[in-house]
Symmetry: C2
Subunit: 226 residues, 2 copies
Amino acid sequence: MKTRDKILLSSLELFNEQGERNVTTNHIAAYLAISPGNLYYHFRNKSDIIYEIFQEYEKLVDFYLDIPENRPMTLDDMTFYLESVFDGLWSYRFFHRDLEYLLDRDQRLRHDYREFTNRCLASISCIFEKLADGGIIEPQPESLRSAMSLNVWMIITNWMAYLKTAHVATASASLTIRELKQGIYQVLTLEIPYLMPAYREQVMSLREQYRPTMSGHEEGAEMKEG
Amino acid sequence: MKTRDKILLSSLELFNEQGERNVTTNHIAAYLAISPGNLYYHFRNKSDIIYEIFQEYEKLVDFYLDIPENRPMTLDDMTFYLESVFDGLWSYRFFHRDLEYLLDRDQRLRHDYREFTNRCLASISCIFEKLADGGIIEPQPESLRSAMSLNVWMIITNWMAYLKTAHVATASASLTIRELKQGIYQVLTLEIPYLMPAYREQVMSLREQYRPTMSGHEEGAEMKEG
DNA sequence: GACTCCCTAGAGTATATACTCTAATAATAC
DNA sequence: GTATTATTAGAGTATATACTCTAGGGAGTC
């Protein structure tokens, strides 16, 4: 693998594990056993590394949230979207942690992230629309749908922060993707009142599979595999 | 005013305006036109300043969210709670911005914040219960209520982050408390499907007063005063 | 072999940051 | 007044961080 790609990969790994704020370019170089000069040969600065990682993230989520189909949506579709988005969130989880600081430092990133958010919101809204087409939830007026989409987006992007700040007792307690996906439980909570009777049971039991366990403290308890 | 109190006050002010990450102890001392040595005479380190500010924040919110009354809840009560919580959020808005980092650096803070969150969640849940008692929303089973409370909490604590990252176009565009309170619109969105018919109209028009304006970009557009 | 291009090492630097130390001054107690 | 304590100034320090600069190696081409 090319050094440039190794830098991107290791940076992402270290950022995810320790937070962007705690990972310096010297750390990255040391981790890869290359010189700082080498790292700076491939990237002009730290922001460029972050920006490029963001572009991968963006591409991934855009790919997941592409909703080309003209058919109404099934429950499986919805599950796929939820799972995929949380997978993406997991892979690039450092990003939402220091988001505000990162955007303050890089105008390109601010601009792109803003558009990214808007695309995601549009996709979520579209998913709601097609869920209604599929007879899974009640149809909603546009204004309600967009407010709800925004709530969904906030739950999705901040569930990790909630887990890391309020749920786990120690800083070192590392999270698992399974715990992260308990966020799906919270998202489905938003849908409950809009469920059509025919699908109510099914969605409720889907939701149950993601129910947070009582022990968010030290050990992660088991949960049914998806 | 005592130097010690001036330090706390100015720190809060600078943190809110520039973010904790961008404000050093030297900055604080310079801002107050005192020496670093003086600052460190009053506080052992930066963490201690932050911790003390947090305790004020905690006290304030606990005060607001004290729900002693045995009577059912009115719409005015609910409005008061929402307004108060967002006022508190505004006054200490730096805190939720760098939360994860702050908690990683200070175990006391992590511990206290976790309990603080739990108290807030309990209060929110209690508010829902009493709203049901007051005939404003439908009664809900405990499990749904706690999941909903968590969603409400996440919307409240992360609305500011959403505004600063996805809504405004430039880093310098400073937010106003009025924009922050558009978060109330999002919170009330969660309640909509549970509203009892008798109160539906009233709550919807209350919500309308907090509706986000389309121009979150540069200039803040006007909104009806509360 | 010489030239070129891509890549790499590694020492070095300017700046920042949290914090310390000493000495001096103001306030209070007796 | 003198002793004591509380407060302040301000220079200084150890460490870190993002980044630079120069020199050179290795591989391919002629």
